[in-house]
């Protein structure tokens, strides 16, 4: 299994790691996120983080497969795909086997949220938070509930890079 995206032009299917990808823009992404926020209230962030972690874990597990790649190499693949797919620029240098910090030099959701709605009162990078939780789970082959992730700072709230803290329990 590779990290290459396959496009079936006859059926209009984009597939990566046995999972479908679909193009969408920041207007849809942050509008759908706000809809979910409105419906679920305080539970909304957790639901979106969990959904992102699940989807990332399944996709990346298929890509990593039974390879003998190191943890660092697997995390590098996850970070590269994050950027290739338009979610932002992730610095994973402070992320290791027991967790650590992911810093987003650019974040699609933070940028998109500010562009559409203005500053946010709370962090908005739920997809990125879950994505890197799922990436660490897939890279180490952990039980999903062992990785806890939280966005400590979000560029949609105030100036500065988005920071996501991950912890293995």
């Amino acid at each position: 299994m590779s990290g290459e995206i396959a496009f079936d032009a006859d059926r209009n299917l984009l597939v990566l790691g046995e999972r479908r990808l679909v193009f969408h823009c920041h207007h849809y992404n942050v509008s759908l996120q706000r809809t979910i926020d409105d419906i679920f209230g305080e539970d909304a962030a957790g639901i979106q983080v969990a959904a992102a972690a699940e989807s990332a874990r399944e996709m990346l597990s298929a890509i990593f497969g039974g390879s003998s790649d190191s943890l660092e190499a697997r995390l590098a693949i996850a970070g590269s795909l994050f950027g290739q797919n338009g979610f932002g620029l992730a610095d994973l240098s402070a992320l290791g086997s027991e967790g650590g910090l992911v810093t987003l030099g650019a974040s699609h959701y933070a940028l998109g949220w500010r562009a559409k709605w203005g500053p946010s009162e709370r962090p908005v990078c739920h997809f990125a938070t879950g994505y890197f939780a799922g990436a660490l789970v897939a890279a180490r082959g952990l039980a999903p509930e062992r990785v806890v992730a939280r966005e400590e700072h979000c560029a949609a709230v105030s100036e500065g890079a988005c920071r996501i803290r991950l912890e293995v329990r």
């Binding site: 209009n12 679909v22 193009f23 920041h26 419906i39 679920f40 338009g86």
Partner: protein
């Protein structure tokens, strides 16, 4: 010249749309993502099930279709105003209805499953058939056969195309701001979609019809 869908899909696919040095995809005046269908489905269906459990299924559908309207307005609108549209699709266009068919051809490079125009009556009605809708196939994979159709984004997209062409006039390159959005999607006589068949319900394909409400 009719819209050559294969040529359009080939041209869009060849653009090599992917993250730049910042990991972002600025295109068509938007920031694009190549996103996980599973993620959209999980959060959308969680919302539908949460409100559905309170007897508010229609409200859930309205909210999720509204997100689809926002997508259509900005993404489809942005594309139809773009240099790429002018280069690839516009030379094939001979009528306003070709704008609809051209946009459907572009959608067929988005990974959403294959959209086909079944019937287009100018200014009245658009009937689209979708094979491999990511929403419907995602529902069917993870949940029991549905009593309701589940292509919320698809519905927003189909009515969105009609609103851009026959309520507004995307051919004149309008500014796609909030006021213009409201004038297209909140006006009397705006197009709304009904999904008359859906794979999530056990139908062989998804079929969506947009008419004026």
């Amino acid at each position: 010249m009719a819209i050559d869908e294969r040529a359009v899909v080939s041209a869009i696919a060849s653009l090599g749309i992917a993250g730049d040095e910042e990991g972002l995809i600025p295109a068509f005046g938007l920031y694009l993502t190549r996103h996980s269908a599973d993620y959209y489905n999980r959060i959308s269906f969680a919302a539908a099930r949460r409100l559905g459990g309170s007897g508010l299924e229609d409200d859930a559908r309205a909210l999720l279709v509204e997100a689809g309207h926002v997508c259509a307005f900005n993404t489809f609108g942005g594309i139809m105003k773009s240099a790429e549209w002018d280069a690839v699709v516009k030379p094939m266009i001979e009528s306003r209805e070709d704008w609809v068919r051209g946009m459907v051809a572009v959608i067929n490079a988005f990974g959403w499953g294959r959209w086909s125009v079944v019937e287009l009556v100018a200014n009245e009605r658009l009937h689209v058939s979708i094979e491999d809708s990511y929403e419907a196939t995602g529902w069917l994979r993870d949940y029991p056969t549905s009593e309701r159709p589940r292509c919320y984004l698809g519905c927003g997209g189909v009515s969105g195309i009609m609103n851009l062409l026959y309520v507004g006039d995307i051919t004149t390159h309008p500014v796609l701001d909030e006021a213009y959005y409201r004038s297209l999607f909140r006006s009397r006589g705006a197009f709304a979609s009904e999904e008359i068949a859906c794979v999530a319900k056990g139908d062989p394909r998804c079929e969506i019809i947009a008419t004026r409400r």
